[in-house]
Amino acid sequence: MRKISPWIMPALLAGTMIASTAQADSTYIKPSSTNSSGENNMVTFDAAGADHLFYLDHRPVQLNTITVTRPDGTPGTVINGLQQRFRSVFDLRLDQQGTWRIAAQQTMVTGTFMADGQERRVGGRRAPTPAAGGERQARAGEGQRAPANPGAPVRLPPVALADMPANATDVHLTEVINRTETFVTQGAPTDVAHSGKGLEFDPVTHPNAVVQGETARFRYLLDGKPAAGITVTVVADGDRYREATDALTLTTDKDGQVAITWPKAGLYWVSAQTQDKNPGEKRAELRRMITSETLEVMTP
C-alpha cells in the first residue's frame, strides 16, 4: 500500500469497492526515451494508472484522451494505439525538432445528493455500453454496494451527472481534473507552453534537462498564476522493489516553485495537487486538480 495517497478519486470511482480499502493509483505516461538526436525518431509510450510506479497493475489511460502538442504548438497524432487491460500503448513519430508534450486529461464530477429520501452517488462508472465490441460486460449487481447488515436497503448504483434528477437536494459535488503528461525532445529543447487553465506544470528547468545530482526548479500555475503552498510528491521508479514508496513531499514557495535535487538517474513521477472553489461545473462546490509528470533523470 502506498503511504501517500495523492488523491481519493479512485475510491469514489470504484462503485464496488469499499472506500476505506481502495488504493489510490498514480496516472502516468511513460516514454521509451526522452532525448533523441537526428530526425524522425520514433518514441513509444505506456499510459496507465497504477498502484506502483511504473508498473501496469490497475487501469489504462483512455486512449482517446491522449493529446500531443508538437514543438510548434500544433496538435500531433499518435499511431499504433492500442488500449489494453492495464495500459494504453501508442507510438509517436517526431517529425519536428524541439520539445513535444504528450498529455491526457480526465475531468469528472463526483459526490452525493439526496433524492426521494435516498442518498445517491454521482460519477462512478457509467453502465457499460451493450454490444460494444471488446468492452467489458457488467457483472450482475455491479455498482451496488452490499447491505451493511441483513435487512438494510441495498445502496443504489451511482448515477451520471447528466442523469441527476431535478428534485435533487443536499448536492455535494467535486469536480476532479486529473492531468498527466510527459515531454520528449528531439534536437534542441524548446519551451513548453501553458494554457492558463487549471493547475499546470510550468518548468523553469527544462523537463528534458534533468540530471542526477543537479537541482531542478519547477513552477506550478493555477489558472495561469503562480500556485503557492501546494503539495508536490516525487516518487522514483521501482517502488515495487522497495519496502516503502520513499516519496519526497514538497510544498511550493511563494512563487509557486519547488526545487528537486535528483538523488540518482532514472524515471521519476512528479505530481502536484490542490483544490479550490472554482469548478467549471456549476453544481459542484470544489475543483480538485492533479497534474502528474513523468520525467527521465539522466546520468551526469
Partner: protein
C-alpha cells in the same frame, strides 16, 4: 613521469589530429578492447567554465556516413552529457568539430586558442554500441591548462597539456 611524458609527446606528434605546435591540446586514448565484436565508439569532447556556463564542443566522432532509416545521427544522444550540454544545440555536421569514428589509439585535439583565462573543465565522453559509456572530466586552468585523468573501461588516459 618522464617516460610517460615522452610517450605522450610521441603520441601527439603521430596523431592525425595534431595541429600547430603552439596550441594546447587534449589527448584522448581509446583502449584496445579484447572483444569478439568491436564497433568504433562515438566520442565527444567539450570544455566548459568550471563555475558553469555554456559548453563548447571540441570534437565529436560519429558515423557521419550512415544514412537511411537509422542514420548515424540517431545515436548521438547516447553521448548523454555532451548531447545535453552542447550537441543538441549545434548544427551537425559542424566544421572542425565533426569527424569519423576512430579505432583504438591516442589522438590529440587542440583546445580553442581564444579561451579567456580562468578555470575550466575538459570532458571526454564515450559510448560504444553493445558496450559501455564513460565520462572523464579534467579540471584545468587557462592559460596553462595542465591535467590528466583516466577512464576505467571505454577510455584510457585523458591528458590536457599546455602549449
Amino acid at each position: 613521469m618522464r617516460p610517460a611524458s615522452f610517450v605522450l609527446v610521441a603520441g601527439v606528434l603521430s596523431a592525425p589530429f595534431a595541429s600547430s605546435a603552439s596550441a594546447s591540446t587534449v589527448s584522448v586514448t581509446l583502449p584496445r578492447l579484447a572483444l569478439a565484436e568491436y564497433k568504433r565508439p562515438y566520442v565527444a569532447g567539450w570544455i566548459e567554465p568550471a563555475t558553469g556556463g555554456a559548453a563548447r564542443s571540441l570534437f565529436v566522432w560519429y558515423d557521419m556516413k550512415k544514412a537511411g532509416n537509422e542514420p548515424g545521427t540517431k545515436w548521438l544522444a547516447d553521448l548523454r552529457s555532451w548531447w545535453r550540454k552542447s550537441g543538441r544545440l549545434m548544427k551537425l555536421p559542424a566544421n572542425g568539430v565533426s569527424g569519423a569514428t576512430k579505432g583504438p589509439g591516442t589522438y590529440a585535439i587542440p583546445l580553442p586558442a581564444d579561451l579567456t583565462p580562468g578555470h575550466y573543465v575538459v570532458s571526454i565522453e564515450v559510448a560504444r554500441e553493445n558496450g559501455g559509456r564513460e565520462l572523464v572530466s579534467v579540471p584545468v586552468s587557462v592559460p596553462a591548462p595542465n591535467g590528466r585523468a583516466s577512464g576505467k573501461s571505454e577510455l584510457g588516459a585523458v591528458v590536457v597539456s599546455p602549449r
